[in-house]
């Protein structure tokens, strides 16, 4: 099954030898995703026009927390992929994992568009009680969608057969 993929023997035996490693990494991964979606999602909803009594710029200091959480999830994610005893093929050949990574990638393309087109500065310049630019609202809708799907496919990873069955594949 893991044919053709590089194997990470040292990590696999480490994870195998210590049952708590996987459990603790999962906790960190869950805490991380809560922080990311709690912060990014609130920012998205404010850009879409909810809670207008919070100025958008006021939410900005929370963004570094989401970035730290993302890095933590990237690192724990690498531990999952390299440490899985049956090999990284478990993830690479898993449709849920592939879709999850696709949406992580798309969330980043979305973020790049947000930052490189100057939308970010325009959004943070929105006056308190004001409306964000329409283009920013489109970015926010996509961001919300992407993160919901990232969590969804992250969860179905473990039940990939059910997902395939459901999709008629």
């Amino acid at each position: 099954m893991a044919e053709g993929y590089p194997q990470f023997g040292a990590m696999q035996s480490f994870v195998n030898a210590h049952e708590w490693v996987w459990a603790v990494c999962q906790m960190i991964h869950y805490v991380g995703v809560s922080l990311i979606v709690g912060i990014v999602g609130t920012l998205d909803l404010r850009i879409l026009g909810l809670f207008k009594n919070i100025p958008i710029a006021a939410l900005r200091p929370l963004v570094p927390w989401a970035i730290v959480a993302f890095i933590a999830n990237l690192l724990t994610g690498i531990i999952f992929v390299t440490g899985k005893s049956s090999g990284p093929g478990y993830f690479f050949d898993n449709l849920s994992f592939q879709l999850k990574m696709l949406f992580v990638l798309l969330a980043f393309v979305n973020l790049a568009i947000f930052q490189l087109t100057g939308l970010e500065e325009r959004v943070y310049a929105t006056p308190a009680d004001g409306n964000a630019p329409a283009a920013a609202k489109a970015v926010s809708v996509f961001s919300l969608l992407a993160w919901v799907l990232i969590i969804f496919f992250g969860r179905t990873l473990q039940y990939n057969d059910t997902l395939l069955l459901f999709l008629g594949m």
Partner: protein, 135 residues
Amino acid sequence: MVVGVNTLIALRLLGVAREIPLAGLRRLYGIVWIGFLINLASGLLLFIAEAHTMVAMVAFWGKMMFVAMGMVVAALLKRQYFTDVASVQAGVVTRVGRNLAIMSLACWYLALIFGRLTAYPDMVSGWLKALGRGT
């Protein structure tokens, strides 16, 4: 929706992102409630599917306890602190507000950790046995 937003509120009360007006936080509780109801509904279905294994699990009851405490703390925060209009308008975080924020963070992250532990019942019972032996 529950943990993320409660974290955001607690962080603000503890001094992060001071530019967020305190009065604005109250409306975020709408998201907390929506998230909680979704989790309650899906959680009940999951519980029905595996009730016999769940009731026997220490980690499950730990999680339920911290979820319940987290919701009580959230309700207290909303009622005790956010109705203190004078403090909220003046941008003052009272001691009650700060203490409840710390409790909120503790409850939600412990609930998350215990929830994850329900996937490892053998590991948890191993730990409990080790504790019982005094090792």
